[in-house]
Amino acid sequence: MLRLTLAQMRRSIGRLVSAGIAIAIGTAFVAATLLVGNVITRTTYDAFAASYAHADLVVTGAVSPEVVSAVRSTVGVTAVSVRPQLGLQLSAGSHRAYVLVTEATSEPRLEPQTLIAGAFPSAPGEIALPRTTAERLGLQVGNQVDTGHAVGTPSAGPATPAGTAASTPAPTVDWAEKHDRLTVVGLVDDPAGAFASSDGAAVLSPAQAERFAQDQAGPSPVIDDSLILTVDPSPGTAAVQHELTSLLPREVDVRTRDQQAQASVASATGDTQSILIVVLGFAAVALIVAALVISNTFQVIVAQRTRTLALLRCVGADKGQLRRSVLTEAALLGLAASAVGLLTGITVVQLTLQVLQRTNADAHLPSSAPLSVVALVLPVVIGTVVTLLAGLAPSRAATRVAPLAALRPSEAPTLAARPGRARLLVAGALTVGGAVVLVLAVALSARVGSLAALGLGVLGGAVSFIGVLVGAVLWIPRVVGVAGGLAGRMGTSARLAAANTVRNPRRTAATSTALLIGVTLVTMMSAGAVSARATLDGKLDSTYPVDVAVRAVQGADGSAGGLPPGVAPTVAHVDGVRTVVPVTEATVLVTSTGTGGSTETLHGISAPDLVAVLRDGASIAPLDDRTLVLSPPVAKSLTVRTGDTVTVVGTDAGGAARPDVSPVRLTVVVTRLPGHEALVTPTTMRAVAPGAPSPLLWARLTSTDSAPDVVPAIQDALTDQSVSVTGGAVERASYQRVIDTLLAVVVGLLGVAVVIALVGVANTLSLSVIERRRESATLRAIGLARGQLRVMLAIEGMLIAGVAAVLGIGLGLVYGWAGAATMLGSMGPIHLAVPWRDLGLVVLVALVAGFVASVLPGRAAARTSPVAALAVD
């Protein structure tokens, strides 16, 4: 029987190969995902291992000063290096950078970085910088660098005097930034990527590092990140490890370097694992699509072998043998295709690594992906099992062939029987039930919290989509028929194509379904993303009054001066910035009748400037010299309403009313202004707080859509200035980048499923061509030109692909909107948006792909000689 199976496979080799491509792509996807997981784990492990240099032991956990001294005094410990939990803000001129900090050590085995210039610091006041950081700050050995770090002091308030701070359950701590000036004595390199997150770490002398760490800890004892140490060979690492473990408190772990790296990887890769599981979810979608394609192919192969199968039954083969023959074929195909897919996946990952290593030397990537047993075996097993499962239905079909079929003249495959009523009921129940759950999830999202609603929504969405897919064979052929009816008006080729697509409803449905899955998911993500973006935009519009706000950073003395003179023209010159308005600012005391005074930050801006710079400028109530314009939150906190009269007076540094100005009476106007704002005209500002500086600049962009490009441009233009850039557009730019990146990644992953589905379309078309060989020849004999035959197949391909794309878009929009509504329901009003550009692209890709899929089968069909019509088989 095996020999027969192999012989049959050889005869159908072309068809099997095209089905194998689908499974190979899916398997390659799984293999690549697992390998990338291995690469990430290895990279993380290498980085951790590198950060511990060549230490014998690593102590982590609550590394208190007592632990440090206990370790130092332990017999057999030769050298100890402390890793403080410390980072420094560095500045030189107008440039800033943040670095991690390590402590210099006398033991070279404990130093993970290499010195490339100067020396390691040996005394307080010295620092060695990573090469890249020094370059960014424009520093060389011998230069000075300013450092800033947080200093905690027990609050000076009477409730918590300094002496009792430690015993109070929650001591109040005042935080300030402390500034020092250090001399750069050396430059270091981080070749192993031990501190890859900050491109290397700055090195301080142990005394300096301890002082900074103590500052940062405030009143509490210093807890270091970890301790690394070397061990004298005579007691040995194991003995010292044992000794330290029994000596030190239980909150402290003593591990060897490798043990510690493994433990760190285990805790750090939790996130990586969940990302990999999500990616494998997409791989599963791709495999489901591949299964549809394969099942389709096997159905046709079995149909074509009807006569052979019947003959086998006549000569004594039983049903089980036929079923096993088909399943053996599926298993062999699955095994071969999965092996090819595995090799493809490995090759792709290795090549990508090679390219990344060449182009991105700082990435600290391994030169080859570590192959694990799981990464090698799992893809092949999954690919084979999926193929085998896809072969189940066709193998049952093979057993249904009656021995008598061998004796009947072979006939063209007749129209498939109508699918059963049971399918209709199941599909209907799943679709309706899932839709109800989905609607429920959307309705409840505002009340039960987004996570619970999301879970419910995913369940409802998945169930209803399964229902749609189960029912696909019932309704997709009808939709294709209607679409074909419309297309059929274009001419004879189109009419033939339309008639062909509804000949085998089951196959058309399966082919469309494969594509439908991919398109639905892509559209869902796209529609969800634009809806989320629109919703967040709406939310930001109500939070930020202006697109971009540029603010002078407080000086080292804490004073808020005006903006440097060059800032306003610089911002105004950035492409995409429409209006730039400087705003004066002062802290004032607002007193309304009947209540005490309350401090507010007051902004001064002229009425025309305000209208010009606000996105919703027209809606702002008139601002004049006698009014105080408030946004609703400020009015609420002051308990005033429109029409109330308040007195306003500037305050001094201590928060008291300035003695040199007299209070001004103003009428309150509450507006729809977003955010927390109190506005007056510059004239009023001069009266209330003479000499108020202008530390703020408001800018309006030509279009909020351009925020992702314009905001970084503004930031780049201002890198030399001590300013911060905030505002609605900035937020918008940052989350848009996140959404866009996520969307691109997700669409890329789903793209694999779409590619497989398109392989399926090509497969279906070429199978049809083979089946209809005589029919094509007849058409050629009675006068269909070669070109017309090719056009017919192209229209057939585009019909199947186009209908799947349009249906998928419809479903995807519904699911995407439901998803956005569920996730963001608690945030306020939902804006449902249609990603027109993406949808157009999807339809275009589907049509072009349907056309491309028809090219090879079309050529094969056109080669058919009209003589074939006369042949009798």
């Binding site: 007749t414 004879t492 008639a499 009675i782 006068g783 269909l784 030109a785 009798v872």
Partner: protein, 280 residues
């Protein structure tokens, strides 16, 4: 080479007596060298318009290959084939397609109707392929065909709902709808029982006599050949005889003569001698 010229059979409906299909030294060789098979060997033959001619011969005699060459379905190794004044052996695929669409009709052994179209759609397909919208004249012609072939109540049925004989009549209507110069029928009764076969053959004959069409039929069945106005016998790729006004008996006698001559003198002697042998 002896070429037998057929004396036309007078029919009441057609006055045209022109030559429609001609072959001049037409040859088709498969393979080369020692393995070469001369399927059609320097054949000269002429078929007249308005007649129903049968090409007959045993299996492997080359009758189907000859028909493929005459219909422009296959390329000749040497020689010429003409449809009217057009030399089809010199045409490219595009011209051949157009020629088949406009001037040649086909009836196949296994009917070859398109399963997804109704009988009427199948009949009208050649006109559609030509891209012409059927005018009143064409519609009247279709009605005439439908009534002649007795298909009136079957037009809206799909092929799977028709009997073999009905399917073949639809195929005949399809072959005639574009009023081709000639219709080639390849074993049109091969897949039919004898009663349906007889019915189809009568319809073919009526198409010639009443509608003035030209039909060339390939068959190996003497009874079928007897429906024709003339039978051309083929053996070993050569014309081996020509029978006018055949009856089943005269066709059988011709075949027998062919067979006995073959037995007596080997394959290559038969062509020249048998032509005289079968002449009444």
């Amino acid at each position: 080479m002896d070429t037998t010229v057929y004396q036309p059979f007078a029919t009441p409906t057609s006055a045209r007596r022109t030559e429609t299909v001609r072959a001049r030294a037409l040859s088709k060789v498969y393979g080369n060298g020692a393995a070469a098979v001369r399927a059609v060997d320097a054949v000269d033959v002429t078929f007249t318009a308005g007649a129903f001619t049968a090409i007959m011969g045993p299996s492997g005699s080359g009758k189907s290959t000859l028909m493929h060459l005459l219909a422009g379905l296959d390329t000749a190794t040497s020689g010429q084939a003409f449809l009217g004044d057009t030399e089809i052996t010199s045409l490219g695929d595009r011209e051949l397609t157009q020629l088949r669409r406009d001037r040649i009709g086909f009836v196949f052994q296994s009917f070859n109707l398109l399963p997804m179209f109704t009988a009427e759609q199948n009949i009208m397909l050649p006109l559609e392929l030509a891209g012409s919208r059927p005018d009143t004249d064409a519609l009247a012609w279709k009605d005439l065909l439908v009534s002649t072939l007795a298909l009136g109540d079957r037009l809206q049925h799909r092929p799977s709902e028709l009997s073999g004989g009905q399917q073949q009549r639809v195929a005949i209507a399809r072959a005639l709808i574009a009023r081709p110069d000639v219709v080639f029928a390849d074993e049109p009764t091969g897949n039919l029982d004898s009663r349906s076969g007889a019915e189809v053959l009568s319809f073919l004959r009526r198409s010639v006599r009443e509608l003035g069409r030209t039909i060339i039929m390939v068959t190996h069945d003497p009874a079928a050949a007897a429906y024709a106005d003339r039978v051309v016998l083929i053996a070993d790729g050569r014309i081996a005889g020509d029978i006018a006004d055949p009856t089943p008996e005269s066709v059988l006698a011709g075949l027998d003569a062919l067979r006995s001559l073959e037995l007596a003198s080997g394959p290559h002697a038969s062509a020249t001698t048998s032509a005289t042998a079968v002449r009444d």
